[in-house]
Every structure is written in C-alpha cells, then in structure tokens.
Point group: C2
Chain length 485, copies 2
C-alpha cells in the first residue's frame, strides 16, 4: 500500500523552524525528536537565524538554506510569519508542514480565518500536506517522530486521531502505562487539510493499525466523515470520544479548535449506524482499548465469577456488577466443597462473589481455585480483585515488603492467564492505580497486557467495560457488521 | 459526657486472647496495638497457653490469669471456644469483648445463630458489651487501639461506623491519604449488641466527632435505626454507603454479616427524611467527607470558573461540568483583557473554561490571576486542574524534576488558599492520583486539607461532589434541618 499520507508519516528529513535553544520552551520538538532518536536515523535540521548550533546539531538560518531534500517541516514560529514559511515550503519541495503555530480560525478573527484558508490554498497548489494549524502534530514511533520526549519508542497496533494535543498525549500516556503501543498518533488541531475523515480512511487501510482511538471536537464535512467512519469501523474497532456535546463544551470547542460541535443525538446516531464505539471520557476510552487488546473482547455473555478480599468489598462489588447487568451464578454445594480445599474457613466465603483475597494465592492451589472459578460453574468470565485493602493489611498477611507483594500479585496474574488459556474463559483483573508505586504498576500492567489479561483500576470500570463490549457487539450484529476482534 | 460506650473506647487494659507469635497471622492485633503504642500507655496482655512471652511482652495462659483489671478483650480464638471465653470475661469483670472470631449467624447455621444469641445473653447478664462477632473491632487513636498497624496515630474529627472491616480499613486509608484523621472507627460485623443505632446515638453526642461516615449492610430494628439516624443527622453530617441494595449484593450481604439488606427505595426515603447523605461508592464517600472538611461545604451555588491546561481538556471538562449542572459564566472582555496580562497568547484561552496550565503559575502573577477568577466574574467557586498532562509535557515546560514540579504545585495550592481567603470564594483542586508518587501525593493532599482546599482525583469526581453538596443542603432545607457545616 502507498497511501498519500504514508510519506507524511515517514519523513527522511525534518526541519524545525523557529526552534529554541531552551529545552524548556513549550513544547520542544527538537528535544522530543532527539530523545526518540530521529536524528540517528534521519536528517534533522533546526532552523533559527539567531543560532548556528543547537543541542549539538548545526542550526540553519532559514528553511531554504537547509540541505535538500526536506520532507517534513515543523513550525514553531508566530502566526504572522507563516505565509512566508508556506512559500518557502513550496519552493523547497517539502511534503508536509506541521503548524504547531496557533492563532488562526480558532481565534474567531475573520482576518486570521482567511489567512488559514490562504495557507491551505498555497500549500495545496504546491503539493504540500498540512497538519494543523494549532496542534501537536505527529507521533510515529517507527519513524522516530514524537511531540513529547518520553513517548514509547516501540511501535504497536493503536492509532490515535485527535484534534487536541493534550488529549492525544493523555491517551498515549494512559495507554502506554497499561502496556499498549502505537502505530501513528496525529493531533490535527483545526484540521483544514488533513482531517478526521482522511485519517480514518488511512487507518482503515494501514496494516500497522488494528484499533483506532479518536478524540474529536467538530466535523466540517459531515458526509465525508460518516463515509470514512463507516469504512473504517467495518474493518477495525473505532473508539470515539466526542468533546463539546454539551452547550458549555461546544462553546469551549469553538474557542479551542474553531469547531462547530454538533448535537449529541446526531453524533450518537452516527456511531450506531457505523458500528463505531462512542465513549464518554478519556478513562473510558483507555478501558475500551485495553478490552479490545485482551481476551475480554471475546467475552460471550454476562455471567461471571467474582473474587475479592473482604466481605464488604464483595457486597459492594456485587451491587456494582448488578448495576451493569452482570450476573453472578450461584455456586453449587459441590463446587463450594471443592473450593473449601483451598480457601480457609475463617473470614472468607466461597459463594459467588467469592470473599477471599488470600490463603490460596500461592503456588498450585491458586491455579486450581482459579480454574474452578471458570469451569466449576457456567460463566462467561472471571473477575479477580487483585489488590489488598492496604499496607497494614498487607503487613498482616505477610506481604509487607514491596517485593513480596509484587511477587504474589504477578504470580496470581500468571495463574489467571494460564487458567484462562486452559478453560477458554476470559479473566479480568482489578487493581487500583495507587496499589503500588507507579513504576511497579507499569511493569505489572505491561505483563498483564503481554499475557492478554485486561486489568482495570476499579470494579466499576471493569464492569462498565464488560457491559460495553457486550452492547457494542450487539449493535454491530444488528447492522450486520462482522466482528472485528 | 459519660456515654455507656465511652469506657469501651478507652480501655486502660486490653487482653488479646488467642494471640499468635507470628506477625503474619491475619490480622495481628498485637502487632497493630504495639505499633500504635498502646502498651506504652496502658496494660497489654497477650493470652495463649502455649507461650510465655510474645513480642517482648509476658504472655498469659488464660484471661483469668491476667492481672486485674482487664477492660477490653480481643478474641482471635475459634468459634467453638467462645462461650467459655464469655464466661471468663464476666468472671473477670471486663467491660467489653471484641469478637474478631467469625462463624456465627452469618454462616446461615441455626446452631451457630443460637450460639450468637447465647453469647449476647450471657454478656448482657454480666454487664459486658459486645463488639462483633465477625469484625475488625476498634480503631481509637486517642487510646492507641487499632486493627491495622499503620493507621495514623493522630486523632481527628471523623467517626467511621462500618459493619465490614475491609471497608472500614478502605475508608480509613483513603481518607488518611487525603489528610483526614479519626475520632473512633468501629467495625461491628453482625452487630447483635453494639449496632449502628447505638453508635449513631454515640456519635451525635461525642464532642470529638464532627462528621460521621457509615458503611451498612443491614438493619435489624428499623425504627431504632431511623430515630438514631435522625437524631445524629440533625446535628452532624452523616454520610452513608449502603451495601446490598441490589439483589446480588443483598445475597452477598446475607452471607457476609447475616444481614437482611432491605429495599433501595426504602433506604433512600430514610436518608431523605433524616437529612443523611447517601452515597453510592467508597470513593464517593471519601469525596464527600473531603468536601465536608473544606471550604466546598459552603459553596453558595453552581456558577464556577474552571481552569485547566490543554484546550481539549477544557472542552471535556466543560462537558463534565454541564452533566452535573455546574455553569461557567462567560468572562467579560475586560476580564479577558486583564487575564492576558498574566497568560501568554499562544496555545491558551482566557474564556471560561480557562485553557492555561502554565505561564502564570509562578510567584505573584499566579495569585493575581487566581483572584481574578474568583472576583472578576460572579461565581460561587473556582476549580483548578492542577495536574500537567504528563512527564514529557512537564519536561517541556521546565518542571521535569520531581522536586520542581511538586514545588510548583504546592505554590499554586498556597495561592489558591490565599485567593480563597481574600475573596470568600471556595477553591477546588483537581489532581490525578498518579500525577506523582504516593508519598509526595500524601504530603500534597495533607497540605491541601490543612489549607482547607478540597482536592479531587478527577474533574468528574469534583463536579459530582459539588453538585452533591448543593443537593444535600437543599434537601435539608426542605425538611427544616439546620446547616451542620
């Protein structure tokens, strides 16, 4: 495949115009590209007439003075200088211009909106594609492009299409923390040229993209967007968070990316008709992408075994599951008897929900109990609350050290993955964000993702996601779309 | 005041019967009491016929062989030995027995339910109060009593009344992490003697208790509970999380504490009629107690200024606020002009929501901008998203080091508190749990609580809580209850 956007995602030479010598200038694309190793694989040209060198790289006085060819230009200059830069891009024969530069149609000024149109006209005439204005641009790990220095350098299956740079970054960070990686991430801002529709059409064809996550504020050409969304969603899961669905949010969207946000019910109908998956928040978006990347995506129905430590937690968890219409079939007396071989009598319960965090989480017994949760009763999934109530509790049960606790939780994770493989029933873990320090949590969630076990930070988020998977699949069935995971 | 329960909360000598030599026995009340320094202030008698010493303390073969007097007895022995222990408690003249021991009415066995009744009869005849069975018992920092070793040793204004020990611990940990401290925490399990109603009557009178947080599964005497709740809620805020409101949850509650959970609509009516504050989850309970302990409790209405970094975040936040009926009055052109003196033009917005995380968060300018958010427009509160999108972003804005970032965020917090004091408008902060490591976050949230600034981990939880404060106060007004915060 050679899609017109492919060269934009894979520039062999990039110039950063208006580069600053300070790493602390916001944002430092130079710093980000260097940290990603772009300059080790490709040509990187800082441009600023006031400097001859920056960060160990030769600095050029203008775009035209850079060596040929320059494929991609990142602009950090003020809006008033952009038209000249556009002409230079055309003269230099670049393929794409990324305008981080803001201050165009989103300001509400007629003059600046007209300038934005003129930019698009001149670039189109010269065969140059435009990312932005008013955006963070591209993160393509396979090319070494990124807008923040600490984005993962490895590539993966998730493509992110976002008008907002901060939300794109939030999506990247939150999914990266949960073990996911990215094919392409595009923050496209006002989007008068490269827009949501074109990026969706690209995503549909891109062999590196398996899942599409979008943050959208407004759509200029509704028909083109609908067609592109339908084409992409027919082939791959497309998860969409729409900003500006309220009147307050729409007002904010108008001043953010100059978008007309549109009515909530129309957007909901678009998602229903195309088989796209609408979510209500960034955290829900992250949960859904995790579900799509693990065994939960194939959950067959709403019957679950639930296990947690603490009887009160079991009661509250059952209430939460009921709210999301997840059922907990009762265990037979025989199954309860079998479980009692692994689970001590005092202070635990072997009905469903199972009230037992400990006592069987070591070695073989854990694996046998977990298998019984999946095979001793007719269920579609097993949900395990993997956290322990608190540090004091953990000291009490002999896992006071960080290492001992992490060892125990990782062991349980392996047992869950193995029980899932043996029984064909997906396992879901619940572990609070602050159950351990951030580094240890990232390692744990990375391992969970490698093992195909979805982990959520609360019972509520786990239950909501499972219910949402079931609903989304039903909706696709209704409109005769095939399963895509 | 000398309430009948006061001596129970302040025992001068405690015996732990069935104590184990292992810190890892679950739970180790001995370890917890030692860590809390109980033995430094009072007499502590481990009881186990198989040992003569444990953890540096003399161990006694039986309760009767302990020196006189023994005020409080904690039982870790199996259920079958409890009746004998009960007789010894009466003979020894103890005031209270805490049965951590489980296996009574909650098992569903008629025989064990009868034994529970017999225990209550014998203790009542002997003038001994019963905490439990099937519970974690007492955490009273002013006495040095606790059921987990790492509960805070300082006391504070929150009383927790919980049937579940794990949920009591979760409430303690989650509120302690947010800077709150406790007067008394009681996990009372099946509760055939000391129960929710008596504890509410105590809380109403207790001068050390300003706020009551409850976790409840079932109520045996509905009228007594209603009267006690009404009496307490008339004088102090009472926040209640009810487990078992769904059929699934009720089934779990029956096997956890033998409770009949009752219908959701009846419980809702009880809360409405008494002015108690019903919440749906442990996190909501924690948010509400934070609100009651800070300036948010006095928020006058639903008009807010909202500030966050990132235009897309501003759009999504506005959508969330709209969902909770919080309004964002538009800023006048004059106010926008004034704000432009502190907030740079590029990539920010000075409408409401304000899109600016940086550029004015240092020194004097931050304080001036924050004051304008409260006084330059007619609002009832100011909400500031204090987190930054991610580590890469933070590096880009020059706060890459942990210390620099924490310094900046703490500085903003002080500016918020001072702007709130000057303008009379409550300020609310939003900062994600994993925005920094757990230790630094605890320090930050402790400082926020000291300064009276409520901080929530998400815009959604902040907005939900503010809306909930307004609704709760309206409900109290309708039934002619006075404000209690």
């Amino acid at each position: 495949m050679t899609h017109p956007l492919d060269p934009v995602f894979h520039p062999r030479a990039t110039a950063i115009v208006g580069v600053s010598s300070k790493q602390t200038s916001m944002p430092s694309f130079l710093h980000a590209l260097r940290e990603q190793g772009y300059h080790e694989r490709h040509a990187l040209y800082p441009v600023n007439p006031k400097m001859t060198e920056v960060a160990g790289l030769r600095c050029y006085p203008s775009l035209l003075s850079c060596p040929d060819p320059v494929d991609h230009v990142i602009s950090q200059i003020p809006a008033r200088g952009v038209l000249d830069l556009v002409d230079e891009c055309v003269a230099k024969g670049v393929r794409s211009l990324h305008l981080f530069t803001a201050g165009f149609s989103e300001t509400g000024s007629a003059e600046m909106a007209e300038m934005e149109k003129e930019i698009v006209r001149r670039l189109a005439a010269g065969g140059v594609r435009l990312i932005g204005p008013n955006c963070m641009g591209l993160y393509v790990p396979s090319s070494g492009l990124a807008f923040f220095p600490d984005f993962p350098r490895q590539a993966g299956p998730v493509m992110v299409i976002s008008q907002s740079g901060a939300n794109a970054a939030e999506i990247v960070y939150s999914l990266a923390d949960r073990g996911l990686r990215f094919s392409k991430v595009v923050s496209f801002g006002n989007g008068p040229d490269v827009d949501a529709a074109e990026l969706l059409r690209y995503a549909a064809e891109d062999p590196e993209t398996k899942i599409v996550a979008m943050y959208l504020e407004g759509v200029k050409d509704g028909r083109a967007f609908f067609d592109a969304l339908a084409a992409c969603a027919a082939r791959k899961p497309v998860v969409i968070l729409k900003g500006g669905l309220s009147a307050l949010g729409a007002r904010a969207a108008a001043s953010h990316t100059g978008s007309l946000a549109g009515a909530a019910d129309i957007f909901e109908a678009v998602c229903r008709q195309t088989g796209a998956w609408r979510v209500d928040s960034l955290s829900e978006l992250s949960d859904v992408v995790v579900a799509l990347s693990t065994g939960v995506s194939e959950v067959a129905g709403n019957r679950a075994t639930f296990m947690t430590g603490g009887g009160g937690m079991a009661v509250l968890s059952a209430d939460v599951l009921a709210r999301f219409d997840i059922d907990l079939p009762e265990f037979s007396p025989e199954l309860q008897g079998e479980l009692r071989q692994f689970i001590p009598e005092a202070g635990t319960g072997v009905r469903n929900p199972v009230d037992a965090a400990i006592g069987f989480q070591v070695g073989d017994q854990a694996g046998r109990a977990l298998r019984l949760f999946a095979s001793g009763v007719d269920v579609d999934l097993v949900m395990c609350n993997m956290g322990l109530p608190g540090p004091g509790f953990q000291v009490s049960v002999g896992v006071g050290s960080e290492d001992a606790r992490e060892g125990m939780v990782h062991d349980t994770l392996h047992q869950m993955a193995s029980a899932s493989a043996d029984t064909g029933v997906p396992f879901v873990g619940v572990r609070k964000d602050h159950d351990t320090d951030q580094g240890a949590m990232t390692v744990f969630l990375g391992k969970a993702m490698d093992l195909g076990v979805a982990v959520f930070p609360s019972v509520e988020r786990a239950a909501r996601t499972v219910a949402s998977v079931l609903e989304w699949r039903d909706r696709r069935r209704v409109i005769d779309l095939p399963p895509v995971v």
